[in-house]
């Protein structure tokens, strides 16, 4: 069983020091039990912000109310099994696990190891991610594992690895941003998604150097008002054109850091040739940003760069530019820009992606990604396989090869060549994956769906076996935040009823499936093994343990030894590439997979709201958050509303190649008139992902969430909606 709270050094006399369950900012919290809590829905814990470099004591509304999910009225506290009559009923743990064991054995005997696939989540602790990856490869012997982080960080990860040899999220601590003269924020609405982050932008705003690109006048774009910076509102899907124009200007006006380029990079000539084709006036007609503004931003960045006497500049990317079928190319261009100006691997400047999910970073480092082994090792590399196999005590030959990325994996489910059983852990793909009608159809075609969740999420409700698990305040572990900082999650209360940690469940299942050792239920023991498995890998945690983190506080990886102080600033001494240099890589702009058509002449973009998180499974269960944002809507400009002849609040019909739905319009000037925005937190008819397509970026497998060709019609009267959202009968293939 996990250690008791009192055994943890992070327990201040007044409460338990931990971090928020939600986003990658991982704001520090102190949790204190409430005497007599739980009765009549009273909270069981109070939440307070705790001073920490990332949040400086702040929390957003989601963090403040996070304890309410612990006592959600429909919290799962006992395993459930779907009976022959199709109804889920509570059963004992033994009954549930025996059932899963029998069904998994049956599928594997009939169809081989790849009959079972695993779908993980970016909210799982490092320990759970590690154990789940190991379980898939060692116990199931399946190559088919991937995770919802694919929808989040895959483009940035692919690009960072290609260009810099390293993907650690931000390779510098967040407070460094305060000193910069210019920060270029591409496609992130952090003022809404992670508000305490904004404190780190105060310095650059006071110097007028914040540049935000977003087709919406988002809360983050508003931070550029009153002389704090510049907002560029490019046509959706053309962020790469903006970047190509910035690259063009920096090269044409010779604003680059020659010394740095000569000493630390390769590939300048090919990049020059690809940027030469995008002079600002050409870019302007494609991206809708004035050529002069493009030049101005390029010069702002250059003037802020150390080689030209500036205090420092940063280029940061978010999902807005990454969730595209050219996401990897777009991030590559952002990195190219940072490299040309000599920003990367230098104190006070840099490039970084802003991770979305709480542990999106650690999840992929330690085994949830189809092609990766713990320590950011490659599953295709013989040495990497041998190292991990030795730690796991198995023959390297027995480890499966690389699987397939998430969207492809979901598309294979229940098909003759695909897996017939799926274990979902910490994910709600029925809401969060692209083209969710297709996802539902694929899940329905499975023989077995096992879901581990804390609440009956939309995916959980489709399960054959539903296993209740612990929440953040009920467990021990570690998370790796957006700056590659390894932090401790600590337990502040016992899990209710029969809820168990995924670590315990995996141990029980492994034992039943013939692997009685190697799956401790104790998080600190799992971490110790993770540390050994990561030793010598790119994400080296070998110098860390729960005990050390409790004693010395959080630490940035790599931490290759017990005396190593951690690496707040990565890349200072060179790039972990074969020749130690970063790669400048040429990029080309392609039209979106789903370009505008005469009958779909608008752009649909999707995104998050301040009050909700991801698929909303948690935050929709917090009454105050739900009250603030009860349902989906379609944000549009008054000019578009006028064209449709509708008023604020009236229903509209949105239609794309993937599906259609009806939602009320929210009319605001803060969006391009050629664009409609929909939040993706909602299930059923309000699910934005009924509309998105399943085309992905060829390099990273990232779905093109951020650009879908859209038709909008006024829908004042109820119109029959095709039956895309009802649960389909499960059929046996």
């Amino acid at each position: 069983m996990p250690s008791t709270p009192s055994a943890s050094a992070g327990t201040a006399p007044s409460g338990t020091a931990t971090h928020c369950p939600y986003c990658a900012l991982q704001c520090a919290q102190t949790l204190t039990p409430v005497a007599g809590g739980g009765a009549d829905g009273a909270p069981v814990l109070t939440v307070e912000g705790r001073d920490f470099p990332t949040n400086q004591g702040g929390l957003c509304r989601k963090g403040w109310t996070s304890a309410e999910v612990l006592t959600a009225p429909d919290r799962l506290t006992a395993p459930q099994l779907r009976g022959a009559d199709g109804v889920l009923r509570e059963v004992s743990w033994d009954a549930a696990l025996d059932h899963v064991e029998a069904r998994l054995r049956e599928q594997r005997e009939r169809r081989g190891a790849d009959a079972v696939a695993v779908f993980g989540g970016g909210g799982l602790t490092n320990e759970k991610a590690y154990a789940l990856g190991k379980f898939t490869r060692v116990v199931l012997g399946s190559r088919l594992i991937d995770y919802n982080g694919r929808f989040c960080m895959s483009a940035a990860a692919t690009a960072s690895n290609r260009s810099l040899g390293l993907d650690r999220g931000l390779p510098f601590p967040l407070p460094d941003l305060a000193g910069a003269d210019c920060v270029l924020l591409l496609g992130s609405n952090l003022a809404a998604t992670m508000p305490p982050f904004v404190q780190h932008l105060e310095g650059v705003r006071s110097r007028g150097g914040l540049v935000v690109t977003d087709p919406r006048g988002s809360a983050t774009a508003a931070l550029t008002a009153e002389g704090a910076g510049v907002h560029l509102a490019p046509v959706p899907g053309t962020d790469l054109v903006v970047l190509l124009a910035l690259l063009h200007v920096v090269l044409a006006e010779d604003l680059v850091d020659h010394e740095y380029l000569a000493a630390r990079t390769t590939g300048l000539e090919a990049l020059r040739a690809s940027a030469a084709a995008w002079w600002p006036e050409r870019a302007e007609a494609v991206c809708g940003v004035p050529a002069r503004r493009l030049r101005q931003v390029a010069r702002m960045l250059a003037d802020a760069s150390p080689s030209r006497g500036g205090r420092g500049a940063y280029v940061l990317t978010g999902r807005g530019v990454e969730q595209s079928t050219q996401g990897t190319a777009t991030v590559t261009a952002a990195i190219d820009l940072a490299l040309l100006l000599g920003l990367v691997g230098r104190r006070g400047s840099g490039y970084g992606p802003l991770t979305g999910q709480g542990n999106g970073q650690g999840g992929r480092e330690h085994g949830l990604k189809a092609d990766q082994l713990p320590g950011y090792r490659k599953i295709t590399d013989p040495e990497d396989r041998a190292h991990v196999a030795a730690v796991w005590g198995v023959d390297p030959e027995s480890l499966p090869g690389p699987g397939v990325p998430a969207v492809e994996l979901l598309g294979m489910l229940g098909r003759p060549v695909g897996p017939s059983a799926l274990i979902v852990c910490g994910a709600n793909p029925v809401v969060s994956a692209p083209d969710v009608s297709r996802v539902r159809e694929r899940l329905a075609a499975l023989d077995l769906l096992v879901v581990m969740d804390t609440v009956p999420s939309e995916t959980a409700l489709l399960a054959d076996v539903l296993l209740p698990v612990t929440q953040w305040a009920e467990e021990e572990g570690t998370m790796t935040n957006l700056e590659g900082r390894v932090i401790r999650r600590r337990r502040a209360r016992e899990a209710p009823g029969g809820a168990r940690s995924e670590l315990w469940i995996l141990r029980e299942l492994a034992a039943r499936l013939g692997v009685p050792t190697g799956f401790p239920a104790e998080a600190s023991a799992v971490f110790d093994e993770l540390a050994r498995a990561s030793a010598g890998g790119r994400a080296d945690y070998s110098g860390l343990s729960h005990e050390r983190l409790d004693r010395e506080g959080s630490m940035h990886w790599p931490v290759p030894g017990p005396d190593h102080p951690g690496t707040p600033h990565a890349l200072l001494d060179g790039f972990p590439t074969a020749d130690g240099r970063a790669r400048l890589l040429p990029v080309t702009h392609e039209d979106p997979a789903d370009p505008l058509r005469a009958d779909a002449p608008l752009h649909l973009v999707t995104g998050r709201l301040l009050e909700q998180y991801q698929s909303g499974a948690q935050t929709r269960r917090v009454p105050s958050l739900l009250a603030a944002r009860p349902a989906a809507f379609a944000q549009m400009h008054p000019l578009l509303a006028d064209l449709l002849g509708i008023e604020d609040g009236e229903e509209v019909l949105l239609r794309t190649r993937s599906g259609e739905l009806r939602v009320p319009a929210e009319v605001t000037e803060e969006i391009r008139p050629d664009t409609v925005f929909m939040p993706f937190h909602y299930p059923g008819e309000g699910s934005a992902n009924l509309l998105t397509g399943s085309a992905t970026d060829p390099l990273s497998g990232m779905p093109g969430f951020k650009v879908t060709a859209l038709e909008v019609l006024p829908a004042p009267r109820p119109v029959p909606v095709p039956d895309v959202v009802t649960v389909q009968q499960r059929s046996i293939v």
């Binding site: 912000g49 508000p195 305490p196 404190q199 087709p215 907002h231 044409a252 002079w279 004035p290 803060e670």
Partner: protein
């Protein structure tokens, strides 16, 4: 498959690089008359303006392992019967398919004194100080003659003439822009727009002379000194830049018996009607929809050609129809002057389904906008002096996104999203307006906390959570604290 490309300019280099990538089996030969790697010709006006480094113009090109590229070698004859291209060095290059991408040449007007005496009129070089702007060598020549000052005459106020005039003026030269018509850029601008551009150019320090042409040039000792104009005036000049149009390079094709109009005639399939193995793309070609003289059209032709030749199971097919490239969008790259035209402005009489057009002319503001909307789309526009409108309308035109039924809306406000207006001051907010967005705390709640004794923003934050997210509302909390203090009677 042996493919020979003649011309290694913007379009020839693109088609060669893309062919090499699309068809590993293709054997490619490229003949380029210029002794340079392919470069971005469009940027030459920026080079002249000092806004682009000539060393930064290199375009993507096919690698030596994939193609034989001959630089500084001119093709002199096409022998269609034996499928050979002869070059000036005497080598013959066999082809299965031949792509002409010879571009266009600057049109040199027939002005007495322009060429050095002796030699045949067409062949002899221009006198020192006179140059068109067509290639890198021209740009370098102009830069040598005018590096930041001097007297310059620019002949021709088309798109290029305006770019060159503003570029050189921006570098400190005294520029006279001479145009033979009354309207500047007469193919794109009407009288009102032209007048506003005229005014804008004068604001930039350029002397604009319309309805005049050059009648002679004095160049004692072969070096330009004076340009004589048809209005009788004489302008001292260190440099005369000829921006008097371009002519497609069709001589090779014509000599080979291929049908030529203004350019080499090609069908929808980009092949010459008389010879299915010869193709023409870029500025030298004359396709059924007409040539624009803009690079977007040539690049789109290159894409279509490569796409149709891409090796696939079936036989190669004819190229698909041209894709909209915002074809006739003309963006003048003038320093200090936003000027864009797109589509054809037509002004039909009243009618229910006729295009609707609205214009705004603001001569003293240096601003002019005219938009034409038809069936919910922007079909034409001219924008002078408003860079936001220029960018937004260009995108709407290129993407064919829906625009307001009433075109007035397009003039009244820019299309793109504007960052939210600065937050209202706390005093202007109603009690139930949300003051702290991150935590959804209303002004009323904060006021109650202040009334309840909170004396600092930190105390208010502790009591209400307001200000604990992004922190940008702390100034408004402070405002409420100050206001409450002011209301309290001063302690005696």
């Amino acid at each position: 498959m042996r493919i020979v490309v003649i011309g290694h300019g913007m379009v020839g280099s693109r088609v060669a690089a893309d062919l090499a990538a699309a068809d590993p089996g293709a054997r490619l030969t490229v003949l380029g008359q210029e002794d340079h790697d392919p470069y971005n010709r469009v940027q030459l006006s920026s080079v002249v303006a000092g806004k682009a480094d000539p060393a930064a113009l290199a375009l993507e090109q096919v690698g030596p392992e994939r193609a034989r590229v001959l630089r500084g070698v001119r093709a002199v004859r096409i022998d269609r019967a034996s499928h050979l291209v002869h070059d000036e060095l005497g080598e013959a290059h066999p082809y299965d398919r031949l792509v002409l991408a010879t571009g266009s040449a600057a049109r040199i007007p027939d002005v007495p004194g322009l060429r050095a005496p002796g030699g045949a009129a067409e062949e002899s070089p221009l006198v020192d100080g006179v140059s068109p702007l067509k290639d890198l060598d021209d740009a370098e020549r102009i830069l040598r003659r005018c590096d930041g000052g001097g007297e310059v005459v620019v002949l021709g106020a088309g798109v290029l003439g305006i770019e060159v005039a503003t570029g050189l003026a921006g570098r400190g030269a005294r520029v006279t822009l001479v145009h033979h018509r009354e309207r500047l850029m007469e193919r794109q601008l009407d009288r009102d727009a032209s007048e506003i551009v005229h005014g804008a150019l004068e604001t930039l320090g350029i002397t604009v002379v319309t309805s005049a042409s050059a009648t002679g040039v004095d160049a004692p000792e072969g070096r330009l000194e004076t340009v004589h104009l048809s209005d009788g005036s004489a302008r001292p000049a260190d440099l005369l830049v000829l921006c008097t149009g371009t002519v497609p390079q069709t001589a090779l094709a014509e000599a080979a018996g291929l049908e030529c109009g203004a350019g080499v005639l090609v069908g929808e399939d980009l092949a010459c009607p008389g010879d299915p193995d010869v193709f023409a793309i870029g500025d030298c070609a004359q396709p059924p929809e007409g040539a624009s003289g803009l690079v977007a059209q040539g690049w789109e032709q290159a894409r279509r050609l490569v796409e149709s030749w891409r090796p696939r199971e079936e036989e190669s097919r004819a190229p698909g129809p041209p894709r909209g490239t915002g074809g006739d969008l003309v963006r003048v790259k003038a320093v200090g002057l936003a000027l864009v035209t797109m589509g054809r402005i037509e002004r039909p009489g009243p009618g229910l389904h006729a295009p609707r057009s609205v214009r705004l002319a603001d001569p003293s503001g240096g601003r002019f906008t005219e938009v034409v909307v038809h069936e919910g789309r922007l079909v034409a526009a001219t924008i002078v002096g408003d860079e936001d409108a220029a960018a937004e309308l260009s995108a709407a035109f290129t993407l064919r996104t829906p625009v307001p039924r009433d075109p007035v809306h397009l003039l009244a406000r820019p299309l793109a999203a504007r960052a939210a207006a600065p937050a209202a001051s706390a005093a202007d907010m109603a009690e139930d307006d949300v003051l702290c967005q991150c935590n959804g705390v209303t002004k009323g709640t904060v006021c109650a906390a202040v009334a309840g004794g909170c004396g600092s923003t930190a105390e208010v934050s502790r009591a209400t959570r307001a200000g604990t997210g992004c922190g940008t509302c702390r100034s408004r909390i402070q405002e409420l604290l100050d206001a409450s203090r002011d209301r309290e009677p001063a302690p005696v």
